[in-house]
């Protein structure tokens, strides 16, 4: 406007200039007046209204707890914060350790080089999470706008998550302060009202059990609901918790040093049968189908593939998994388990593969189809090496869960056979090998350069990211295209509770209560699914059998530490003594067998032209060279340390025993 008028001024006659200036001035005055009127009118608003602008980026508590969709998003956060011992999105190292595997990663050799675990290892003390759970329960309880059905389900889920976390705490720390209300600090400088002593260990287990009993009727009985709490999830938690408490009561008697006089650690042995009874009852409630129709996954004809598929199948066909941590590819919730642990030769990423290598200790523990135990045969009775025509022959005739849990040499993965062999074994006993499959060497009597070691290792120099035990892990490994890429990653579920564990819990509880024929009934179902079709009789069920069955079925699922702890045999299994080859191959069926160092089994190609054994496979037990440490579980490791900061802040907290 002003620009145009200026142009007009330039062409206007002189007499108009004065008048024009006056008009411009009046216009200015008018504008200023208008602005000041507007401003003063604006300021007529009350000060409090002007300053109290409701923020648009914050949703208030009463708004959130009036809409089920918003409540669900709060609940989603609480679900995301569930603590698992082994978890797919918390790194592959949470599956390593305990002699069950070897970490083929330069940065993680500490697992096999450290002598003992720090007392603080495995500890958890997240009362921030407990407070958030209590707040959630308070807020849902106080809400008036939610439908009654929504409200009771949300409430039950909040209580389920709180019980889950207390269960996780009691497994690691023993009795902890049981806080079931939100605490508020009054700014008085006095915190005594906020300091609570540790509850008894049995009190925490009782809390978990009673919460599960109280909420099971409020949760849906729906086998297709996997990622939210269901009746079966509550019952599975109850069965496991009661079983843990029962075994701590029973076997805690063998380690009287691991207890505190106030019961913060240790459960009196008189309470054992009560807990076992509860465990059995809760497990039976799931088995009877009253929480929905759960059953063992039996879909694929190949039993090993079927076992691996339990962890891969997310469809409604999978009625085995009860409660899972769900993932979704290309939608932000993914994990790098497959990226980290895929076979090196078939890897989607050049330098990401092969980290978690199951040990021979674990591999040989899978029994033969006639229910007996034997090491993987490498030598005949006279001490001569056995020559195998096929790399998988030494593992034939064993529990199908072996090949379902572990990738054996010459396994077909995604697009190719994996290539595991340690080199050429000559007839004079020498080995020709190299540090990489692309570094060729010549065999005797020939000048032709050939590949002398498997693309997947194991190399004599211990190259990382390839197998160093002769095996890769198969459980959870995602066969989907691109699952090994860092960009896409994998969305395989992590199963927290599944039907097979419920059956094993029932079997163990029944066994401890002297109902051995019931125990066989439950255990034989799990075994039959794994191809062990000769049923165990009531007389066959022993403590060693129970321990073995859980190892075979549940390895790499976050159970081994807590199982060994509650049976109080951790100090025997990880006793701080080196594991010799003789230790390794003897007493395989024993629950207290030493498992302090992870061994490997290397296949070698026999090279002796003209011999009938030429080109066949010879296997040798090898302790990978980075294994210099010996696992030593000390009495003080049974319960993780409560750190000094916590005890300083709250002198009512008692220290753990033996620390």
């Amino acid at each position: 406007m002003s620009c145009r008028s200026k142009n007009k001024i330039n062409i206007a006659p002189d007499s108009f200039i004065a008048l024009k200036k006056q008009i411009v001035l009046m216009k200015k005055i008018f504008t200023i007046a208008m602005i000041s009127v507007l401003i003063s009118a604006e300021s007529c608003k009350k000060d409090s209204d002007f300053l109290n602008v409701p923020p648009k980026s914050v949703v208030t508590t009463d708004v959130v707890f009036s809409d089920p969709a918003l409540v669900l998003s709060v609940l989603g956060d609480l679900y995301n914060r569930v603590l698992d011992f082994s978890s797919l999105d918390n790194g592959w190292t949470t599956f390593a350790d305990f002699g069950e595997s070897f970490p083929s990663d330069n940065g993680q050799y500490g697992f096999v080089q450290n002598r003992s675990w720090d007392y603080g290892t495995w500890g958890t003390w997240d009362y921030g999470y407990v407070r958030d759970l209590n707040l959630f329960i308070d807020n849902v309880t106080a809400s008036t706008k939610l439908l009654a059905a929504d409200k009771s389900r949300f409430l039950a889920e909040g209580r389920f998550l709180r019980a889950t976390y207390y269960f996780e705490m009691v497994k690691r720390m023993g009795g902890v302060p049981l806080i079931t209300q939100t605490l508020t600090y009054d700014n008085s400088g006095n915190v005594i009202g906020l300091q609570f002593p540790r509850s008894k260990e049995s009190d925490i287990y009782d809390f978990v059990i009673s919460e599960a009993e109280a909420i099971k009727g409020l949760l849906p009985s729906d086998p297709t609901e996997k990622s939210r709490a269901t009746k079966a999830a509550a019952l599975a938690m109850e069965a496991r918790a009661a079983l843990y408490a029962g075994s701590i009561a029973k076997y805690g008697a063998t380690t009287p040093q691991v207890s505190l006089s106030g019961g913060e650690v240790g459960i009196p042995s008189s309470m054992a049968s009560g807990y076992y009874t509860k465990a059995l009852a809760a497990a039976k409630e799931i088995i009877s189908g009253s929480a929905g129709s759960y059953k063992l996954y039996q879909v694929l004809p190949n039993l090993s593939d079927n076992f691996a598929a339990i962890f891969l199948d997310k469809s409604s066909v999978n009625q085995e998994s009860i409660w899972v941590e769900d993932f979704k590819a290309l939608a932000g919730k993914v994990h790098s388990f497959t990226t980290n642990d895929q076979p090196y030769s078939v890897s989607d990423e050049a330098s990401d593969a092969g980290r978690l290598d199951p040990s021979l200790n674990l591999v040989q523990s899978f029994e033969k189809l006639d229910n007996t135990f034997a090491p993987i045969a490498t030598k005949d009775g006279a001490g001569n090496p056995i020559y195998y025509a096929d790399q998988q022959d030494p593992f034939a005739g064993r529990d199908a869960r072996l090949a379902g849990t572990v990738m054996l040499p010459h396994f077909f993965w995604k697009t190719a056979y994996i290539d595991i062999w340690g080199g050429y074994l000559l007839s004079n006993g020498n080995i020709i090998s190299s540090d990489d499959a692309t570094h060729y060497a010549a065999l005797p009597g020939s000048s032709e350069q050939v590949q002398v070691v498997g693309k997947d290792g194991p190399t004599p120099t211990g190259e990382p990211l390839r197998t160093q035990t002769g095996f890769y892990v198969r459980k959870y490994l995602d066969p989907a295209t691109g699952s090994g890429r860092r960009g896409r990653q994998s969305d395989v579920n992590f199963i927290r509770y599944r039907y097979a564990e419920v059956l094993l819990n029932a079997a163990e509880a029944a066994f401890e209560l002297g109902q051995t024929s019931d125990a066989t009934l439950y255990m034989n179902q799990v075994r039959a699914r794994a191809g062990l079709t000769t049923p165990l009789t009531a007389g066959d069920i022993t403590f060693d059998r129970i321990v073995h069955e859980r190892r075979a079925e549940l390895s790499f699922e976050g159970h081994v530490l807590f199982d060994m702890k509650r049976w109080r045999i951790a100090t025997k299994v990880w006793d701080g003594n080196p594991e010799s080859l003789n230790d390794l191959t003897s007493n395989i069926s024993s629950a207290t067998k030493r498992n302090t160092q992870p061994w490997g089994l290397y296949p070698y190609k026999y090279y002796s032209p003209g011999s009938p054994n030429d080109g066949k496979w010879v296997f040798r037990e090898v302790l990978p060279s980075p294994v210099t440490g010996v696992l030593n579980f000390r009495l003080g490791n049974y319960y993780s340390q409560i750190n000094d900061g916590i005890i300083s802040a709250n002198p009512k907290i008692k220290r753990q025993p033996n620390q």
Partner: protein, 233 residues
């Protein structure tokens, strides 16, 4: 701006000038050391396995200085002058530590004012006496006697006695090249126990080994050892 040499020189000069300021915290300089003792005899333990704690009284918080005993039972701490309480956490060590009637662990008061040696007097369950370690005809032989120190209601049995041999000075259940065990029940005369083990072969030949004998006490985590001896052959 192009970075030139004199810029870098100036920067380094400034940095070093800033570093000329005096540090306002003195490093710990007072040395407290000592050894686990029973009536004048040192008590050998496994390296880095038996911890001790040193609490400074009158200091904010309740976090101890922690350390572990060496193989010969010695310890040392570099700290500041002040009043300390020394204790050994529950269930640690092959010996008894006084428990207070209130249920806590007893402490030793140490008023530190300059370097000091404080030996820690404890009551072991057993003592190994007169350990003789010799090498002959490809074997290491240990002869020793066992003295049962605690004989009251809290006495404990011997689980095993072991002879450990290693190529380095670190000789323990977790770090040894050869081991010979004798079950506690198989000991007929505690005053005269003998163990032997073949001398192990090492990748690099050496004409000596380190050895010591230890007792594993039933229900006690840590073993008690005789002093490490260098045996030449």
């Amino acid at each position: 701006m192009k970075i030139k040499f004199h810029h870098i020189a100036l920067f380094i000069l400034l940095l070093s000038a800033a570093g000329c300021k005096l540090d306002n915290v003195k490093p710990p300089s007072v040395k407290l050391n000592g050894q686990l003792m029973y009536k004048g005899s040192p008590i050998g333990v496994e390296y880095n396995q038996v911890p001790f704690q040193l609490y400074q009284t009158g200091y904010k918080g309740n976090t101890p200085i922690s350390g572990t005993f060496d193989q010969d039972g010695s310890y040392s701490v570099l700290t500041f002058n002040g009043n300390y309480k020394f204790t050994i956490p529950g269930g640690q060590g092959p010996f008894q530590w006084k428990e207070l009637p209130s249920g806590g662990r007893d402490t030793i008061n140490i008023a530190l004012n300059g370097d000091q040696t404080v030996n820690i007097e404890v009551t072991p369950y057993y003592m190994i006496r007169n350990a003789q370690l010799t090498a002959a005809s490809g074997k290491i032989t240990a002869n020793f006697s066992i003295e049962k120190v605690i004989t009251d209601a809290s006495a404990k049995n011997i689980q095993t006695v072991s002879l450990f041999v290693n190529k380095t000075q670190f000789v323990s259940p977790g770090d040894h090249a050869a081991e010979a065990d004798l079950d506690g029940g198989a000991i007929t005369d505690p005053a005269n126990v003998s163990l032997n083990v073949a001398i192990p072969s090492f990748p690099v030949t050496q004409n000596y080994v380190y050895a010591r004998v230890g007792i594993r006490i039933a229900g006690v985590e840590d073993m008690i050892f005789s002093p490490v001896v260098k045996v030449s052959y």
